[in-house]
């Protein structure tokens, strides 16, 4: 520890430094700006809420996507099952159909299948069309 007596110059310099290095005053607007910043920080709750809602939305979208894939898969399975079932039914019915329709039997089965398929596909539009015709004056 340096305990020597300060020189004249050191004392004068200390005085001068005290004059030169005056403490800067906090700007008048500082507290208002700080309050605004703190208020924005308090808005972190809103940010958290938003994040939570976004997470929920993402989860919902994931669920919908899973459901969509499941429906698509079950539709394909149903279609395949229906096609195989129709083929099997046609094979079983073929002897009886040949006995009654002769050489027209395969053609009749094909046309029946096509009519059934078209009927199933255009079932809803056809029903709407029929409803409109029946309501027409």
């Amino acid at each position: 520890m340096n305990a020597r007596k300060p020189t004249e110059l050191e004392l004068a310099l200390d005085e001068a430094l005290g004059r030169a290095l005056r403490a800067p005053q906090v700007p008048h607007s500082f507290r208002a700006r700080l309050s605004a910043a703190v208020t924005r920080t308090a808005g972190i709750h809103w940010a958290a809420l938003r994040e939570q809602m976004e997470n929920e939305r993402r989860e919902q979208l994931r669920r919908l996507q899973r459901e969509y894939v499941r429906v698509r898969r079950s539709t394909i399975v149903t279609l395949l099952a229906a096609a195989f079932a129709a083929g099997a039914a046609a094979m079983l019915a073929m002897p009886w159909l040949r006995a009654h329709l002769g050489s027209y039997a395969p053609m009749a089965v094909a046309w029946s299948g096509a009519a059934l398929g078209l009927g199933m596909t255009f079932h809803e539009p056809l029903r709407a069309l029929l409803r409109r015709w029946s309501n027409a004056p």
Partner: protein
């Protein structure tokens, strides 16, 4: 020359206890009353740029606000606040060095760093400020808060996060370096510096 040492630990006990009773706002208000100016002055001393110091002080205090409930009292409140402020200032200095490697703080800032309060124009004061600017960064850091905080070495040590002995040594070296500069320029007449400014 040194001001009496303040016992920060006991003095801040009231603020420290408030957040635990749910009065976080009141605690922060009290904290601002006590530390707003000190934080701002520390930022001015470290950054020597008015607008950067204001931004840094604001961000530091916002960080203090955010972390106030988590403050565990292991360090004195003042040390904790100054550590947050120093870290923020060091980040700002690093960013400044990265973006403006050759640029020094602006003139406006220089005025603030050494005291923005309007005062009578005095060539010697400006001369002295210019000389301080020529000191190496490590020596320049201590005198600014020392004179800002009414010559309290303990406050300077707390602000700079170093032992009091280190702060004293840095101040001594800064004064010595300044004395050398004055001698070299032929300005070492005590009367020249003691003369009444007004």
């Amino acid at each position: 020359m040194d001001a009496p040492v303040s016992d920060g630990t006991n003095r801040d006990q009231d603020i420290v206890e408030l957040p635990h009773t749910g009065a976080r706002e009141r605690a922060f208000e009290a904290l601002l009353e006590r530390y707003e100016g000190k934080v701002y002055r520390l930022c001015c001393a470290l950054l020597r740029d008015r607008s950067q110091a204001e931004d840094a002080a604001q961000e530091s205090l916002v960080r203090v606000w955010k972390a106030l409930e988590r403050y565990d009292g292991r360090a004195a409140l003042s040390s904790w606040i100054y550590a947050i402020t120093r870290n923020r200032c060091l980040t700002a200095l690093q960013q400044r060095r990265r973006h403006e490697p050759a640029q020094e703080p602006n003139d406006d800032a220089q005025q603030t760093a050494q005291g923005a309060a309007p005062e009578p124009w005095d060539g010697r004061t400006e001369e002295l400020r210019g000389l301080i600017e020529t000191l190496p960064e490590r020596l320049r850091r201590a005198p600014l808060p020392y004179y800002y905080e009414e010559r309290s070495v303990s406050e300077v040590a707390c602000m700079l996060g170093c032992p009091e002995g280190t702060a004293k040594t840095t101040l001594f070296r800064a004064r010595t370096a300044l004395g050398e500069l004055l001698k070299r320029r032929g300005l070492d007449d005590p009367a020249y510096w003691r003369e009444d400014v007004s």
